[in-house]
């Protein structure tokens, strides 16, 4: 048993932290929130040059053959930096599913592009029903000769407006079990019939409505098997949930550090507020929530990295972190006083992003139900 990163992973972490504190200051984060595209193509290319996008791909697809746990290290640092680049959607929601379920031809076509920073991917999964269960997949793809025609609306699709490709989860046949009849297509995001609206969200994180109006895709573009896509989706959601947890751990750790530093600096009644015991206890509770989230997340990430079945561990991590991050943010604001609720302060970046992260890929209730199932209740 060992809960620590390896020496190489610690080095990767340090390298990522140095790089991001240099290249991704909060001024850039703010700028990107207001920017229409929402990311910096220059920074994106630099990340590709560092080998980040292809980190876990095999070398033959332009990758470095590292593990999901190594990726977890990067994600944590990205969460800490509030990075706005479309890394999560491209690698976690696009590249890894293709690596999992793609044909050799698809891997050869797409993975080197991702590794080189030449293609942005995203996943069009959720719909206006905003659920992550199989029965909520209602957008249909109708077979027509060797093609399928997709029509309908996908919602909360990250970075769709800048994406080159969408993995689109659709219903290809109506079966008794909702898990059956779900198919994933790799769709050219710039093709005819697709339109986007960027939603206004608390994190300004470019979640989109994507409308498919008779979009034609070849059956060649099916990722995995026709009608058998749900198990791939489950894997995507599981991995995305852990990856979100990693980002959240990075953000929560930073919030803890900011708050403790502030408590040491800020003086009222002629003493640092950190000398008041109640403030100390808030900080102590925050540290406990951060550590609990960290180990829960690492455990889940490690399970997936080792290829072990981690449904329960993922559920525990995401169920826990949703509420833990809520408490951490709550204490952070209380300790910061009014300055923390201004747009000029960095804390608000984390507050908005952590809330968005809690909601995405299943909230605490969603995962508690999975835990209940794992307990055979």
């Amino acid at each position: 048993m060992d809960f620590a990163f390896s020496e190489e992973q610690e080095m990767l972490k340090k390298m990522a932290r140095d790089f991001l504190s240099d290249k991704c200051p909060k001024t850039l984060v703010k700028e990107m929130e207001e920017d229409e595209k929402g990311y910096s193509p220059e920074l994106w290319q630099e990340m590709a040059d560092l080998g980040w996008m292809g980190l876990v791909f095999p070398e033959k697809y332009g990758g470095s053959n590292m593990t999901f746990l190594d990726l977890a290290v990067l994600l944590e640092e990205m969460g800490r930096a509030c990075l706005s680049e479309p890394f999560f959607s491209t690698v976690i929601l696009g590249g890894l599913p293709i690596l999992d379920a793609g044909s050799e031809k698809q891997k050869q076509e797409y993975l080197p592009k991702i590794a080189g920073g030449k293609a942005i991917f995203t996943l069009a999964l959720t719909e206006p029903s905003a659920q992550y269960n199989p029965s909520s997949i209602a957008v249909k793809a109708i077979a027509e000769n060797d093609d399928f025609i997709i029509s309908g609306t996908k919602l909360f699709v990250p970075n769709a407006h800048i994406a080159d490709y969408l993995l689109c989860v659709v219903r290809t046949s109506q079966q008794a079990r909702a898990e059956e009849g779900v198919t994933i297509f790799i769709v050219d995001a710039k093709g005819p019939g697709i339109s986007y609206t960027v939603l206004k969200t608390i994190a300004n994180d470019k979640l989109c409505e994507v409308v498919f109006d008779k979009v034609r895709v070849s059956k060649e573009n099916i990722l995995g098997q026709l009608d058998q896509g749900w198990s791939v989706v489950q894997r995507i959601v599981e991995r995305a949930a852990v990856a979100k947890c990693c980002e959240m751990v990075g953000g929560m750790q930073k919030v803890l550090e900011m708050t403790v530093d502030y408590a040491k600096e800020r003086k009222q009644f002629d003493r640092p507020i950190g000398s008041f015991q109640i403030i100390q206890h808030y900080c102590s509770n925050m540290a406990t929530d951060v550590d609990g989230s960290r180990f829960g997340t690492y455990q889940a990430a490690w399970m997936l990295s080792e290829g072990l079945p981690g449904t329960k561990e993922v559920a525990i991590a995401k169920a826990w972190i949703g509420e833990a991050s809520e408490r951490v943010i709550g204490f952070a604001h209380q300790i910061h006083g009014a300055i923390g609720v201004t747009m000029d302060h960095d804390l608000q970046f984390y507050t908005r992003r952590l809330k968005a992260a809690q909601l995405t890929f299943g909230g605490a209730d969603f995962y508690r139900e999975i835990v209940a199932q794992e307990m055979e209740l």
């Binding site: 040491k264 950190g274 206890h281 900080c283 609990g292 139900e369 209740l377």
Partner: protein, 391 residues
């Protein structure tokens, strides 16, 4: 990073389970909450000793097995899961043996360690006094040097296992003139010597949980002193980290967790089992999530010890977290049982052996013993985060 146990550790866990299953099958104990601190069974302790499971982490030259603390946590985790009556040896195994190993003389090691290993030393912890609770350094019990002896005068209270202990570990003042942290020493004392009076204290569950211990000119040989005279407080700080470190802080009422889950699955209300009820599913799943996080925070403590560090901050964090979980578990179980929650053991209509009300009441003490949660949060804030209470 590796969240797995080794093959040997998995095997060891199975071995411990096998032993406990067999004990259960033979009717040698009933699973119960708090059995690690209240379950008196010399017979059980003797068997555990024969297995070599006391002093598991001690060096082999002193009769230990040189195992890691993760191994010891596996052992104790299973004892706690089964609610096994391990009180006779628990303190000696957990902290006093280690203290003697660290600070004791060769003579003390030769005399006391084999007794602990054989499961014959039932050691109670004589720290708290009427005016020394969280502020342990305020102890007033005096140990006055007199020739080859010390003379003890004063009073201890809340001494768990006090009614059956044959030794008491003692924190006493050896220099009344010195600042309060610098005049304290540690002793291990044979309670069969004259000059000691031990009377029971009944806890909120009605159990005889503690003793009050009075010393009235009790003469003890000097060799009872452990470590350096007047350095006791600094020695204890280390020991307290071990006292707080274990899974007993997370799993004291684990048998109730098992029982309430089973109860929810098996009990039908309007044709549906309780576990199908959304609210009850939610509550039990939430407990499971909290438990698993607590388990990680606690195993982390074992890993820190195995790396050779004193887990002061980590143990404080894990304990404060874990006792909150235990209290949440107990109160949730009471909610699920509804009116039946109030019926106590031995009564007609009592569900799940009355574990819920026993645990509910008893759990009020979890967040006090071995460091009140507020004091533990002080430790995390001051030692872990560098927040100072001093102006």
């Amino acid at each position: 990073m590796d969240f797995r146990f080794t093959k040997e550790q998995e095997k060891f866990r199975q071995e411990v389970r096998g032993f406990l299953e067999e004990e259960l099958r033979q009717g040698n104990f009933e699973p119960s909450c708090d059995a690690w601190i209240q379950g008196y069974s010399p017979e059980f302790t003797r068997k555990v000793a024969q297995k070599g499971w006391i002093g598991l982490t001690w060096p082999e030259e002193y009769g230990g097995q040189g195992h890691s603390n993760v191994d010891r946590f596996i052992l104790t985790e299973e004892m706690l899961r089964y609610g096994a009556p391990a009180a006779c040896h628990w303190f000696a195994d957990r902290q006093i043996g280690g203290s003697i190993l660290r600070y004791g003389t060769e003579e003390q090691k030769k005399e006391l360690l084999p007794k602990i290993l054989r499961g014959e030393a039932y050691i109670g912890l004589g720290m708290s006094e009427p005016e020394a609770g969280s502020d342990l350094a305020a102890v007033k019990t005096r140990a006055t040097e007199d020739g080859d002896d010390y003379i003890l005068d004063g009073q201890k209270m809340w001494t768990s296992c006090g009614m059956f202990m044959n030794y008491i570990y003692l924190v006493a003042r050896t220099d009344p003139e010195a600042p309060k942290h610098r005049g304290i020493s540690e002793f291990v004392v044979d309670v069969s010597l004259p000059g000691i009076t031990i009377t029971p204290t009944i806890d909120i569950t009605g159990s005889q949980a503690w003793a009050e211990v009075f010393f009235d000119g009790m003469r003890i040989p000097k060799k009872c002193l452990i470590g350096e005279k007047n350095r006791g407080f600094y020695q204890i700080v280390n020991q307290l980290a071990y006292e707080r470190a274990g899974l007993e802080r997370l799993m004291a009422n684990y048998p109730l967790f098992d029982a309430i889950i089973k109860f929810a699955k098996e009990t039908k209300r309007m044709g549906k089992s309780l576990s199908q009820d959304r609210l009850i599913r939610y509550k039990l799943a939430q407990l499971q999530v909290e438990f698993e996080i607590g388990r990680l925070l606690t195993y982390r403590v074992a890993l820190v010890i195995d790396k050779g560090s004193t887990p002061t901050v980590e143990a404080a964090m894990a304990k404060a977290y874990s006792t909150t979980f235990e209290q949440h578990l107990a109160s949730t179980a009471m909610e699920i049982l509804g009116l039946y929650g109030q019926v106590t053991a031995g009564s007609k209509w009592v569900p799940i052996l009355g574990m819920a009300p026993h645990s509910y009441l008893g759990s009020k003490g979890y967040s006090l013993q071995a460091g009140a949660s507020e004091v533990l949060r002080n430790i995390v804030a001051e030692r872990g985060l560098g927040l100072s209470g001093k102006l």
